[in-house]
């Protein structure tokens, strides 16, 4: 937990509450987050509907990192906004540490927005250029009811936590920082609310590689030190593999596969996951990729294909795939694919390794 060396004489109850994360009410076995049946559609002017998130469910255990991967338009950023309740879902529920968000007797959206914090991709656009770093970081605690002195202390403490000496940086403005330093400030700002869950939406994607490694190390340290839980959204499959305990793969608003990181990377079961992994550059100039596993771009989430949404790009699609939407199976390593379900009627469903001959190279 954060080390609180603040004078205790004059703290208000709001300040006391801000100085520590909200208490663990559900115990260690209660998932920190349960997402069930989450749906968010956007209506366009011409009457079309973007099915950005279309029935997504998963759990995040306390202290783990859930990686979320998928291509543009798969709904990963919309999902992040729903988890933060920056957008309201059309259907579905969020349960945070056993308490349903936004329901009577559950957890208020305001409390969720303190317990969960978000770090965005664009470190520059997410900071107010007219505020000093101290003002920026203190803004959240002030809005949550902290007095000037306590908010200031919080700002200094969290700057220290992210490796920026408070005496040097507190009075600086965002334009005086490098990209890596700005992203540290964004992390400090999130930490100032004493969150339990951090949602990292492409938080390291815009950074240069040498700086990305610094921030990834920092995130790993903070997770341990502050007992945080992460939802780590990224298009970089190698980075997701490095940081995650479990991985969720999205395609056109749906979860197609979820499981422990090793299972997903070493034994992917959905044809899309396999193709995504096989699309990574080889990292060895002597063993270059000879074939692209998929052709074309991901289709638009407006008017997605019937049945399985991946079938239009899938090498093993069958008639059943167009007719019936595959459901995400139960279990720790779950996949939504007819070919993995012996009862589906897919011709390859009985085979032990139905994709091996069809899905191309997977390293």
């Amino acid at each position: 937990m954060l080390q609180r060396a603040l004078p205790s004489r004059s703290r208000t109850p709001a300040e006391e509450a801000l100085l520590a994360p909200m208490p663990d009410v559900g115990g260690p076995r209660q998932p920190l987050l349960i997402v069930d049946g989450l749906v968010k559609h956007f209506a366009l002017e011409d009457g079309a509907v973007v099915r950005a998130v279309d029935g997504v469910g998963f759990r995040v255990a306390k202290g783990e990192t859930l990686g979320v991967v998928g291509e543009s338009g798969c709904g990963k950023s919309t999902m992040a906004r729903l988890l933060m309740q920056l957008a309201r879902q059309d259907a579905g529920t969020l349960v945070f540490d056993g308490l349903e968000v936004g329901s009577r007797g559950g957890m208020s959206v305001r409390d969720l927005q303190r317990s969960a914090q978000m770090v965005f991709q664009d470190s520059h656009a997410s900071l107010n250029p007219r505020l000093t770093l101290e003002q920026t970081i203190a803004f959240g605690p002030r809005a949550a009811g902290a007095g000037r002195a306590v908010a200031r202390e919080l700002a200094h403490e969290t700057l220290g936590l992210v490796g920026l000496a408070p005496l040097v940086f507190a009075g600086r403005y965002p334009h005086e920082l490098s990209g890596g330093q700005r992203q540290r400030v964004n992390i400090a700002r999130a930490l100032a609310m004493s969150p339990r869950l951090l949602i990292l939406d492409e938080s390291v994607s815009a950074l240069d590689k040498s700086i990305e490694a610094q921030i990834l190390n920092l995130l790993q340290d903070l997770r341990e030190r502050l007992a945080l839980t992460y939802v780590f959204i990224s298009h970089d499959l190698n980075v997701v593999r490095y940081v995650s305990d479990r991985v969720l793969v999205m395609y056109l608003g749906k979860v197609v596969e979820i499981g422990p990181v090793r299972d997903i990377y070493d034994a992917p079961r959905h044809p899309y996951t396999r193709a995504l992994l096989a699309s990574r550059p080889s990292m060895d100039p002597r063993r270059r990729r000879e074939h692209a596993p998929l052709s074309g771009d991901p289709p638009s989430p407006i008017d997605p294909p019937s049945g399985c949404r991946f079938r239009t790009r899938c090498a093993i699609a069958d008639a059943v795939c167009a007719r019936i939407e595959p459901m995400l199976a139960q279990g720790p390593h779950a996949v939504a694919c007819h070919a993995a379900d012996p009862a589906s009627g897919h011709p390859l469903a009985g085979e032990a390794a139905p994709f091996a001959a069809h899905a191309g190279v997977v390293s």
């Binding site: 550059p281 100039p285 998929l294 074309g296």
Partner: protein
């Protein structure tokens, strides 16, 4: 060895900043033969994009270029404005990271390609349109005839990038400059475009200069690699030499920072600090303040690009004193 198609020597670019002139490029040298791909690898602000723009003299008005750029015998820096327009597109063509902003939104793809062919080759509209169709087929755009009638916004990101490649190839350039052409694409589309560029480059025998920050992309496409830092090439050589046996501490650090599956469960070894301000470069080696191996000598003078082998060159004052390079995947454990 055939005569290089592109020869760049002592290329310097200085721009007027608010507080006086800022040197963006400090004397860049390289050469490239026809049919080869040189990847310029570097982080933001390293000068990799400016180097490419300087080759076509696509630099801001406030910038002054000096040095020598010879492309197929043409002294680019000596050309007059009017003559420049003739080589842009026909001798050297460029593709950019964002096809959405590089294409004109108000004309169809077919019109934009045909217009270029007409302007450079004086072809009739009918011939130019036929050539546009051939080009879209060459870059493997499905239902090419229909796509000629499409406006850029009607195409997906991958198709737009293919259309831009078609546009770049429309006047049969001898040199293709590609500035992060796959960075904005999705993973499954990026590999398609990389394979296409590799195939086209082989078929058409162009010399290709490929700017990227992504080591994996360089592994897929490069014959040779040049690593830039703070406006200088700090290492160059064959892909195997630079990516497999990097000699410069910055290049080694960069390769070590790339997260690969080998690193799961280990702590990453980043390069400390951040790149220097170009307006206030440290004396001597620009990387010295971030370098674990730096000694006094490093700040005395800018090291020369010294030869490690016939093709492998490294700009480090302590070259030969450092541990021999080991493949970067294993270097992590040290």
């Amino acid at each position: 060895m055939s005569k290089p198609l592109v020869q760049v020597s002592d290329l310097r670019v200085v721009v007027r900043g608010a507080d006086g002139p800022v040197t963006i490029l400090h004397g860049v040298d390289f050469s490239l033969e026809a049919g080869k791909v040189l990847c310029v690898l570097g982080e933001s602000g390293s000068g990799k994009s400016m180097t490419m723009r300087a080759l076509m003299r696509l630099v801001p008005r406030s910038a002054t270029i000096s040095g020598r750029v010879l492309i197929d015998g043409v002294d680019v820096l000596a050309l007059r404005e009017r003559e420049l327009a003739r080589i842009r597109g026909s001798l050297v063509a460029m593709i950019f990271q964002e096809p959405a902003t590089a294409l004109d939104p108000t004309f169809t793809i077919g019109h934009q390609i045909a217009e270029t062919v007409r302007a450079h080759e004086g072809a009739s509209w009918a011939d130019a349109r036929r050539r546009a169709l051939d080009l879209l087929e060459l870059v493997q755009v499905p239902s090419a005839a229909r796509r000629l009638q499409a406006y850029p916004h009607e195409l997906s990101g991958g198709l737009r990038q293919r259309a831009m490649i078609a546009l770049a190839l429309s006047c049969r350039p001898k040199v293709l400059i590609a500035d992060e052409p796959t960075t904005a694409l999705d993973a499954t589309v990026q590999i398609q475009v990389l394979l296409l560029l590799r195939e086209l480059q082989r078929e058409l025998g162009m010399a290709t200069l490929f700017v990227t920050h992504d080591v994996g992309v360089a592994c897929e496409i490069a014959d040779e690699v040049a690593v830039m830092y703070a406006g200088r090439i700090v290492e160059r050589g064959s892909t195997e030499e630079v990516l497999g046996r990097a000699g410069h501490p910055y290049a080694r650090g960069l390769l070590r920072s790339v997260v690969t599956s080998d690193l799961v469960g280990t702590r990453l070894v980043p390069i400390d600090g951040s790149p220097p301000e170009l307006s206030a470069l440290p004396p001597g080696c620009s990387f010295a303040p971030r370098c674990n191996h730096a000694i006094e000598r490093c700040s005395a003078a800018v090291p020369e690009l010294a030869a490690l082998s016939a093709s492998h060159r490294v700009r480090c004052a302590r070259l030969g004193e450092l541990e021999p390079a080991i493949p970067h995947a294993q270097e992590v454990s040290t």
